[in-house]
Each structure stands twice: as structure tokens, then as C-alpha cells.
Amino acid sequence: MRKGLIAAGIAVLVAAAFVTAGLAKTEVLAAPAKTEVLAAPAKTCDVSVGLAVPATGPAASIGQEQLHWAEFSLAAFNAAHKTKYKMVVGDTQLPNVAAAIGVARQFASNKKIVGVVGPAGSQEVQAFGPSMRSTAYVSMSATRDDLTNGQRPTFFRVVGSDDTQGAVDARYAIRTLKADKVVVINDGSSYSVGLAARFANVAHILGASVDLDEITQQETDFSALATKIESDVDLVFLPWQLATQAQTFAQQMKAKGKNAIIFGSDGLFTSDFAIEGAYVSAFARDIHGVKGTAALIKAYEKKYGKFGTFGPPTYVAMQVVLDAIDRACQAGAATRKSVLAQVKKTNLKKTILGQGIRFDANGDVEGGVFFIYRIASGKYQLVFPTK
């Protein structure tokens, strides 16, 4: 019996070694690096920024990029202004809203936190609301249109709203791609439902026939759904948050011999979604093309590696909050109230996104725009707006 046990133990070890050795090659998650704090203080306040990102979970690839850009932004700001602001990271585990609410309450009870960057998802913004009644929170990727309906006086975002995104996407799909028959599938999240409805509305007005369907964010088996897409459908619009789901679904469709164009929203603009010939919209342009960002990109890539479009808006959101904290601090004390007042007055002339940041009365960024890319031989090609 004992020999058998030892043999079993060894076998388990060997199998485990195989697994971890194999998985090592696809390692993505790194432990969050410690944020750098620089010496040589100017007038500075001992306060922190809360950062709410999905650092783990199915959306971790987005969350890690946002986390890195936030760290990068903080270090850059502290170095430039000789300040010592700190950052507290909360993991919202998108799509687990209960985790997001835990983060919101943790931030609310931490008196050192006077401003928040995030959260990333639209449903998380709704969950943050009650805890953030007096704290400014600036999202870098929540695009659902009715978040800025005037009910959330402390909410701001540095990206455009889905009102714009849905319309831009639908117009491009129907007018430019000449799609007559469209299927719109939402993933049940509040972001997805809103965007799907907006897209369907505009597409319908433009004369396309629109079918609606839905999935859940826990789904992994898409074969029956792919079967359900009829073969004369021209385009499938996927306003999803989890790119791995979209990747699997698109592969299943291809395997079933369905040739409809796949059109994804900003949630799919990550390396996890790489379907040849698919279209993806994004709330920020690829900053490689923006003037004056080359040195910054080089410094970032040296430290963290490649990135997509989710990071740079985080950099800017962090900038907005830090800037407000600094102004509040210089004018007296950085409290939640004074920081909120300063965030409202934000006026960044030029950011790495290629545009300035000012907020309207509801917290929306003025002049928010969307971009559409096509995936061709593994690269993103800007197709809208054409310069």
C-alpha cells in the first residue's frame, strides 16, 4: 500500500510539473510592482488615489494594462511635481460586481483616499455610486451612456459614451460595410445591454434587419449559438467585455462555415481577440500615432512591454485625479470635497490621447470620439475616421 502511495505521489508531481512547465510559457499575470516614491518633497499632502481595476479574473489582461499605466502615470507625476502621492489598488474582478462593491467600500472607509481612478466596467460604476457620494471617481473605460445622466454628481470619465459608440459602429457597419442582415448579441452586462440596444436602434433606422440574442459572461460553449446564426447574416455585432469569449465564439462560427463579419466593441480591443478580418471599435486612438508621445511610449515599453488601448486612458484619468489633488493641496488641504471641486474644474490642454480633457456638467468628456480598427494579419488598421 505504501509503495502505491509513493508511486501515486510521484506521478502527481510529474503531472503537475508538466502542467506548470507548459503553463509557464503563457504566463501573463505578474504581481503588482511596488509603486515608486521619489524623494525631494515639495509641498505635498499625505493622501492616496484609489485605483479600481480588474487585476484578476477573465478581464485581467485589460486590468493589468490599466494597472501598469496607472503606476506609470503616478511615477511620472510624482517625479515631475516632486510630490509623494500614493496609490491603493483595488481588484474589482470584472465581471464579479460583488467584488467591485467590496473595493468601493474599502476605498470609502480609507480616509487617506481622496480621489479614485476607475472602475473599469459600467456595471461597476453603478455599484460604486453609493460609496462614492462625496468622492470623485474618474473612469477610464466605462462607456455606458446613461452613467452620465446627471444622477452621479461625482462621476467623470475620460472616454466617450456608448451613445456615440453605438451610432458610429452602426453607421459604419450599415453604410460602409453594406450589412443588410445583422445579429446583435449582448453579454448581459449593463454596458453590453445598453450598447447593443443603441446599435440595434441606429441599424434599424438605417434600414438593416436586426436580430437580437444574448449570452452570459460565464458562457464557454458557443457551438449552438453559432449554429443559430443563419448563413445569410452579413454581420454579427458583439458588444462584449470578455475578449476570450468573443475569440471562442468567432472560431466556432468559422468552424460552422458561417462567414458573417465579426464587429466588436471597445471591450474586444485587446490581444485576446485576434480574428482575421474582424472590426473593433475603440474609445482611444492608438497612441503610437499621436504626436509627442514617442519618448513616453519608449519608457513605458521598456518597463512593462507592449500595450493596447486600455492603458493610455488610465494614464490620463490618473493625471486628472493627481492634478486635482495637487491643486487642492497647494490651495490648502487635499480633502475629498476639495479634490472633487478641482476635478470638476479639470482643464488639461493636451494629453497623450491627442485631445484635451474638460468635463461637461454631467461628467462626460467634451468631444469624446470613437475609432474603428480592422484586424489584418495580426495588426490593427485604422479604418475610421479616415484622415
Binding site: A17, T20, A24, V97, S109, Q123, V193
Partner: protein, 497 residues
């Protein structure tokens, strides 16, 4: 098993139930040593004293802790203690295995949230804002009613089948909660947003019961503690009543109870409903205090947490399950990302050291273990340093004296790569092997296991405390079942099959 030494955990030969019962007193007196005497002493304290001590500590707790996150301990403990007391009625007293308990918690929360929030059922029907004195009883009643309905099959289904039905009921509830944002009857009517779907119900009103209007964490804490004391008192009276005694006999031997003329079915249903009602109350408080409900609040992890509390404390013992709730919630909150890794490390090494000091006898064996650990650790570190200098250049998370010692004995690579993961698996294998070995083999294996544990802790576990706590939970449940299935304060009993 041929040729194997009898393991102390497995009574061989198995003694009969009658003999076991007749030797009860012997078991009691047989408890020697410090722990045995302490336990006997604890048993003699009357329940009223327990209650007074508990209330006294609970009342001053907010004064001792800062308002912010430390009070989360208090509120979470109170809420989970409430849940554990409810589950104890079903599992501990009536002996029914209810794996759908978390659904009743959810039903209470959703009922409260839907009746007092700005939630929109349809485009036009928005914002039902009933006050708490109406919604809390409705939430409790709804949970109890659903508990009654789910308990109905328990008349026919017993044991495993009941576990199956309740487990799937919980899953059904979660599905409805997570997908119920566009419910329509067979696609004929337009969609009704019943549960808010995956986004849950945000913006839930605070509780309003006439003049009682808690809004702060402290207020909710006191509110929950008062609810807990009321529920505990009611349950204490209940278990001493006719019904309580009937439940006990039902749990011990359902068939005998039935033959004695007890209404077994109604007793089972009553236990189910009371458990569900308490969970419903806890749910309503959660919804109001959290100002929202989300499907993620009611997942399997929560169910297992509540079970862990009941099992750890001792199913059937009210003081036990409350103790279980306190211990597990505190461990849970300590092992959260808000605690600094240094403190966690101190705790980790402290617990290991204390366990070694208490468990290993005689002294020369302990000396061998500690000495062996030091010598082996130092040797391995020197060798590792000679092989690759970078393998000892990493930093340990703990500071101070403990940090220095760990730094001296444990290999801490600057770039550990995948080694922590292999080490984690090796550690599990080593720990399992320890449970099977005894005598000098065990003593010999302890030092390398300790070093392995320290290595895994420094390079892997301490960086992910949220995962670590769940791993510990799982291991705790298994260990508890094999070593002390009756829990800390529970009584060992024989099951008559």
C-alpha cells in the same frame, strides 16, 4: 490495508452505539491535560453568562476599533454569526443537509432590495420605496415560505437526495438572479426586469423602522448585533422546548422518532423554514447595509464559508457556531489584501512555531526539529548561493527579527520563476505524507517541510492572501472532518444507521 498499523483516527474494532453511549461519562472524564480541563470548565459556564459576555464585548467593540475598515470585522462577524445560527437549526439540530441555504440568504436580500430601492421593473414601474418595518418582515416571510416549499421534498427525500435537490435549488436561484433582467412569460409578454441580472440591484434604501434609521456602519453594526441577540435568545428557548427536543431525537434516529409518534415531516419543514427565515433576515440587513445586492454575494464560496463556520464551531452548539463565525470571519478579514504582508508573515510564522511547541513532544524531538530546520535551511541556502548567486538575492516580506531569521534560512530568489509553484505542489505532497507517517520518519520529514512552507509562503502565498484564505478553508474542512468532525464545541455523537 493489510499489515498497516492501526491509525488513531480509525477506531478498530468499531465499538457499538450502545457501548459508546454507556461510556459517555468515561469520555468526559478521560479528558486530561490542560485542554481537557479547560473544555470541562467552559462547559460549566451557564449560557446566560456567555450571552452577557458576548453583549458586553460587542457593545464596546466600536469604541476600540476605528470607524473605517476595522468595524468591518464587527459587522461581518455579526452577519455571519446570524447566518451560521440559521444553518445550525437545519444542519446541527434537525440533521438535514441543506446545500441551498445561501439561496435563502439571497431571497431575503433580493426581496428587500426590490421593495425598497430605485430599481425599475419595467420602463414605467420604477422605484418601490417601502419602509423597513414592512419590507424586513416580508423578506423574512418570503425566505421562510420558499424554505417551506423547498423543504417539502424532504418528506420523501432524505440524506443525499435532499442535498442534491437543495444544491440544485441554490443553482436555480443563482441562475434566475443572474439572468432575471428580462423575464417574460414564454416570450409572449414584454420583458420584466426582475433581478437586475448580472448587474444586480444598486441604490437600495437604508433600513427605516420608525425612528430606527441606521445609515453608518456603526449603526448597522448595532442593528445587526441586536438582531443577533434576539434570534439567539429565541433559538435558545426553542431548542429547550418540546420542538427542540423533538428535533434532536429526529436527528439521532428519524425512524425511532417516527415510531414514537413524532410528526417527523412537520418537524423537518419547521426546521427548514426557521433556518430560511433567519437567512432571509440576514439577507435583508446585507442588502440595506451594502446599499445593493449582486449575484456574486450568494455564490458557492459564501455557502462553504457558512458551512465552515458551523462545522468548525461544532454543529448543534449555538456558542460553537458563533465562535466559528468569529474565528473564520476574523481569519478571512486578516487574510485580505488590506493587511500588510509583514503582519501576515509574522502571524504565519508565529502560528507554525506555536503549533510546533504545543504538538511535538518530548523536548529532544522538538530540539531536533528546530535544530534540523536551522542547519538544513542554512546548508541549502549556502549551496543555492554557490550554484547561482541570484537565488538568494530576493527580499523577504517580513521585517524585524523574524525577517532576519527567514532571510538566513530560506532561499529567496530574486526571480523565482516557476519554482514557487513546483514547491507548492511538493509542499502539499509533503504535508499529506506527514499525516501518514509517524515515529522518527515523521520527525525527519518535518524540517524540510517547514523550509518548503516558508519558501512557498514568501514567494507565492503571501502575495495572494485572498486565494490563500480559500485554500486554507478547503484544507480546514477536510482536516476538521478527519480529525474532529464534531467541531470545537460540538459533542461527539454516534450515528445510528
Amino acid at each position: 490495508m493489510a499489515g498497516e498499523r492501526p491509525h488513531p483516527d480509525v477506531p478498530t474494532p468499531r465499538i457499538g452505539a450502545d457501548e459508546w453511549v454507556s461510556r459517555e461519562q468515561e469520555h468526559r472524564e478521560g479528558r486530561g491535560g490542560l485542554t481537557g480541563r479547560a473544555l470541562s470548565l467552559i462547559e460549566r459556564i451557564p449560557p446566560a453568562t456567555w450571552l452577557v459576555v458576548f453583549i458586553a464585548i460587542a457593545a464596546v467593540l466600536p469604541l476600540l476599533m476605528n470607524t473605517g475598515d476595522l468595524n468591518r470585522y464587527g459587522l461581518n462577524v455579526a452577519l455571519f454569526a446570524l447566518l451560521a445560527l440559521g444553518l445550525n437549526v437545519v444542519v446541527g439540530w434537525a440533521g438535514l443537509l441543506d446545500l441551498g441555504y445561501v439561496a435563502f440568504f439571497g431571497i431575503g436580500a433580493y426581496t428587500y432590495a426590490l421593495l425598497s430601492s430605485s430599481h425599475c421593473f419595467t420602463e414605467t414601474t420604477c422605484g418601490v420605496h417601502w419602509p423597513g418595518w414592512a419590507t424586513i418582515p416580508i423578506a423574512i416571510a418570503t425566505a421562510a415560505l420558499v424554505g417551506f416549499l423547498v423543504g417539502l421534498p424532504s418528506r420523501r427525500l432524505s440524506g443525499d437526495y435532499l442535498a442534491i435537490v437543495t444544491l440544485f435549488f441554490a443553482q436555480l436561484f443563482l441562475t434566475v438572479a443572474a439572468q432575471g433582467d428580462r423575464v417574460s412569460a414564454l416570450g409572449l409578454t414584454s420583458g420584466v426586469n426582475l433581478t437586475g441580472g448580472p448587474n444586480g440591484v444598486p441604490d437600495v434604501d437604508p433600513i427605516r423602522i420608525f425612528l430606527i434609521r441606521p445609515t453608518t456602519v456603526e449603526a448597522y453594526y448595532y442593528f445587526t448585533v441586536v438582531a443577533l441577540v434576539i434570534v439567539a435568545t429565541a433559538l435558545w428557548l426553542l431548542i429547550r422546548s418540546r420542538t427542540g427536543r423533538a428535533w434532536t431525537s429526529l436527528r439521532e434516529d428519524a425512524l425511532a422518532a417516527e415510531l414514537m409518534g413524532m410528526p417527523v415531516n412537520s418537524l423537518k419543514l419547521l426546521a427548514f423554514s426557521i433556518g430560511a427565515a433567519i437567512a432571509g433576515l440576514a439577507g435583508a440587513i446585507l442588502a440595506a447595509e451594502q446599499t445593493g445586492v449582486f449575484p456574486g454575494n450568494f455564490n458557492l464560496a459564501i455557502l462553504i464559508t457558512i458551512y465552515a463556520m458551523v462545522i468548525l464551531g461544532g454543529a448543534g452548539s449555538m456558542a460553537g457556531v458563533v465562535l466559528g463565525a468569529i474565528v473564520i470571519t476574523v481569519v478571512f478579514e486578516v487574510l485580505s489584501p488590506t493587511t500588510s504582508p509583514e503582519k501576515l508573515s509574522l502571524l504565519f510564522y508565529g502560528v507554525i512555531l506555536v503549533a510546533l511547541l504545543v504538538k511535538i513532544r518530548p523536548w529532544w524531538r522538538l530540539a531536533f526539529v528546530l535544530g534540523g530546520t536551522v542547519v538544513l535551511g542554512y546548508a541549502v541556502r549556502v549551496i543555492a548561493h554557490a550554484v547561482s548567486a541570484s537565488s538568494t538575492e530576493g527580499e523577504v516580506v517580513s521585517g524585524g527579527f523574524v525577517g532576519d531569521v527567514v532571510e538566513l534560512l530560506v532561499v529567496t530568489p530574486a526571480q523565482p520563476g516557476n519554482w514557487p509553484k513546483y514547491a507548492y505542489i511538493a509542499l502539499i505532497v509533503a504535508l499529506l505524507a506527514l499525516t501518514r507517517l509517524d515515529g522518527w520518519r515523521r520527525t525527519l520529514l518535518i524540517p524540510p517541510t517547514l523550509l518548503l512552507a516558508a519558501f512557498v509562503w514568501e514567494t507565492l502565498l503571501v502575495q495572494q492572501p485572498t486565494v490563500t484564505r480559500f485554500i486554507l478553508f478547503g484544507a480546514l474542512l477536510v482536516a476538521m472532518m478527519t480529525a474532529r468532525p464534531q467541531g470545537l464545541l460540538g459533542k461527539l455523537r454516534v450515528e445510528i444507521v
